[in-house]
């Protein structure tokens, strides 16, 4: 036997306030840390005393790049901030710049943008369902979700040429028009998705183990959400009907009939329910948008060539799949942004974790972090 002592007493990183706790480093390489999150867990047995997220392992200097490239050159970056709902980020950045430059967007392009964004939102939520169930140990639903997600990616691939990191928006419109094949494909997908939701209900939502693992786990109430600036499905699961699409409608979202689903429990199960219902709402929006899609151009007749906004600061928020995504854009009157702050939802959502995770067990930690739907490059930027 080796003489080396094990456990708490030998740990140099042990927390002074909990000397009996030992430190478990989860990540940056860990199957359920969604990329490169690192959780430093101080634990007693299986119970977590202090949880400290360590981020920055996917920091890619988006904001520095924005300050050194002109407005158009930052466009491809936008969808790489959060590659799971990249379309929303990409279109959102275009809308922010359009607002700054007061560019009018043709009607048809507005509708296409909504269709693309909402399809992307469904894809993102589907991926979340898969990874969340995977985090609590169920493998098969993961693959079912990916199968449905592939259908969306095919559609978006057809109009953007990319499966993940779209650069579809342009200041003033979109790059490519949608054709009949896309619209037919979208209608087919809408039908398919509607028939798939009951299947998820039987496979996942009615499963006793799933309910046991999710109900009452990781409760984030309204106060916690407000204190940490938590937005998106996590906030709506706590009973707050906050959705940027409703509170400050951008684009043409005020024309569509959709609800903001909320649940009151604020636990992982509520977050699951909210996302499932958001998929339904997005399906509704896409149905309406496809129905009302007008004919016409997809770019202004005379698109601007130089982008030089006037001096001043502006803020533009969109509802991304994970919550409110804001861009604080400061112009000094030149072609290059003076400052672009990306207010990404997961950054705030994750910052509530030290409070929520304390006192849970390891398995719950995984479930709770999974239920937030974090994307690390979006947090680290």
């Amino acid at each position: 036997m080796s003489d080396e002592p094990r456990g708490a007493s030998s740990d140099p990183e042990a927390d002074p306030t909990h000397p009996e706790a030992y430190v478990l480093n989860m990540g940056p390489q860990h199957p359920s840390m969604h990329g490169v999150l690192r959780l430093k867990l101080h634990m007693i047995g299986e119970e977590i005393v202090v949880a400290e997220p360590v981020i920055g392992y996917a920091h890619r200097a988006h904001e520095k790049m924005a300050e050194n490239r002109n407005y158009l050159m930052f466009l491809p970056n936008s969808s790489r901030i959060d590659y799971l709902s990249g379309m929303i980020y990409n279109i959102g950045y275009c809308q922010a710049v359009e607002k700054l430059l007061e560019i009018e967007v043709p009607e048809r392009a507005q509708y296409i943008r909504v269709i693309a964004c909402e399809l992307n939102r469904i894809a993102s939520h589907l991926l979340w369902i898969g990874t969340y169930v995977l985090d609590i140990g169920g493998v098969t639903p993961f693959l079912y979700c990916w199968d449905d997600r592939e259908q969306i990616l095919d559609l978006l691939d057809a109009i953007t040429g990319s499966r993940l990191t779209y650069s579809y928006g342009r200041f003033g419109g979109v790059t490519m028009d949608v054709d009949d094949a896309f619209l037919t494909g979208t209608r087919t997908f809408l039908e398919r998705m509607k028939s798939r939701l009951p299947e998820y209900d039987t496979l996942v939502r009615k499963n006793v183990i799933f309910i046991e693992r999710s109900r009452g786990v990781g409760i984030m109430d309204r106060q916690t959400c407000r204190a940490y600036g938590v937005t998106g499905p996590c906030l709506r699961a706590a009973g707050v009907a906050y959705d940027v699409r409703k509170s400050e409608p951008y684009g043409i979202y005020d024309r569509f009939d959709f609800a903001v689903p909320t649940e009151s429990a604020g636990d992982c199960l509520a977050r699951y329910d909210v996302r499932i219902r958001e998929i339904e709402e997005s399906l509704k929006i896409v149905t309406q948008a496809v129905r009302d899609l007008p004919a016409g151009p997809i770019m202004p007749d005379k698109p601007k060539k130089k982008f030089k906004p006037a001096e001043g600061a502006s803020y533009f928020a969109v509802e991304a799949a994970r919550g409110a995504f804001g861009m604080y854009l400061v112009s000094d009157g030149s072609e290059v942004p003076f400052k672009l702050k990306l207010r990404t939802p997961s950054f705030s959502n994750l910052s509530s974790m030290p409070k929520v995770l304390a006192g849970t067990m390891v398995a719950d930690t995984i479930a709770i972090v999974g239920s937030l739907d974090i994307v690390l490059p979006e947090i680290d930027r």
């Binding site: 036997m1 080796s2 080396e4 094990r6 030992y22 478990l24 860990h30 199957p31 359920s32 299986e46 169930v133 995977l134 985090d135 609590i136 140990g137 169920g138 493998v139 098969t140 693959l143 079912y144 199968d147 496979l203 499963n207 183990i209 799933f210 046991e212 693992r213 067990m361 390891v362 398995a363 719950d364 995984i366």
Partner: protein, 329 residues
């Protein structure tokens, strides 16, 4: 009833018999594990609308053979901070009881390596020994994930052993013997399987067996999304393969026990005994796979309370009723 002549009795030298027998069991287990892993990948692929291995051999049948050859030729890393004796010994301690337990089963009338009157007890005893190995692996690895996995494994297996054995005892009470061959023969004689009289015990046994073999939804000792790879996180190459081997063989063994206790072992019409035996075993293994690829994982405390609050009292109740009825009849 005189015990049927066993394989060992037929040979002149008992030692030669034992060696040959162990070699035969080892060979059977190896082929079985290779096949089971392939089957698992195919079954999971079928459930998940994939294809599974297709490229190596017909239907990808040699895929696991390739995996094994690769693992055989991998570097064996011994991390610096491990407890070397424990670390090196653990895979063997997990592996050997599996082979020993497998040698006790009657694959058909007379086709049994060691026909012992305490066969059932020995099977469970060997099964219990494996957890010593798992704990050695977790402790010896000097890795927190491994240690957590090992602690979970020991707690879980000791707990679930109780309903497992209680459920088996119900059958023993009915048959009056712990000899695996005799239990099978008895069902064959009476013309019905014990699952007919003991459905509750069969279900308890199956659930507890899932937990004993660390299969989903009870796979918390190596819960991938929580503990990376659990107790074998630090093991590479062939040592890891031994754990893998033991895990799949354990699934096979508990299915064999269930076949003997509840499904009448080799008995069945028309087809020869071994065919029936393996058909039943594979049906049960298939069931465990189906469960694994459908359900999420339980949390540790839920797992324990399920055992102590639901399974164990139910098993005790079932045993009491069985004893009472057996006394009356």
């Amino acid at each position: 009833m005189s015990p049927p002549e066993t394989l060992v009795d037929k040979l002149d030298s008992p030692w030669l018999g034992v060696v040959l027998g162990v070699a035969a069991v080892l060979g059977m287990l190896t082929v079985n594990v290779l096949f089971l892993v392939w089957l698992e990948r195919k079954v999971s692929a079928w459930i998940q609308r994939r294809m599974g291995p297709t490229e190596v051999g017909p239907f990808g049948l040699f895929q696991t053979l390739a995996d094994m050859l690769k693992l055989l030729s991998k570097q064996l890393i011994t991390p610096r901070h491990v407890d070397k004796p424990l670390y090196h010994l653990a895979p063997l301690v997990v592996f050997v009881p599996v082979v020993a337990a497998a040698s006790l089963f009657p694959f058909s009338a007379g086709l049994v390596l060691q026909d012992l009157d305490i066969g059932l007890v020995l099977v469970f005893a060997f099964g219990g020994l494996a957890f010593v190995g798992i704990f050695m692996a977790g402790w010896g690895s000097n890795n927190k994930y491994a240690l957590l996995g090992a602690m979970r494994s020991v707690a879980q297996n000791i707990s679930y052993e109780i309903p497992l054995i209680l459920a088996s005892l119900s059958v023993v009470l009915m048959s009056g013997t712990m000899n695996l061959a005799k239990i099978t023969a008895l069902q064959s004689e009476r013309g019905y399987w014990f699952i007919v009289l003991q459905p509750v015990a069969a279900v308890i046994y199956f659930i507890a067996a899932l937990a004993e073999t660390n299969r989903a939804p009870f796979d918390i000792p190596e819960a991938e999304s929580e503990l990376v790879a659990g107790f074998h996180t630090e093991y590479s190459g062939m040592r890891f393969a031994l754990f893998f081997f033991a895990e799949y063989s354990n699934v096979f063994i508990v299915s064999m026990v269930a076949t003997v206790l509840f499904l009448g072992g080799w008995s069945g019409p028309l087809l020869p005994g071994p065919v029936w035996f393996f058909l039943k075993v594979y049906a049960l293994v298939g069931l465990t796979m189906w469960v694994r690829w459908t359900f999420p994982r339980l949390r540790f405390d839920q797992l324990m309370s399920f055992c102590w609050v639901v399974l164990t009292p139910l098993a005790i109740l079932n045993l009491l009723i069985t004893a009472f009825v057996a006394r009356l009849v």
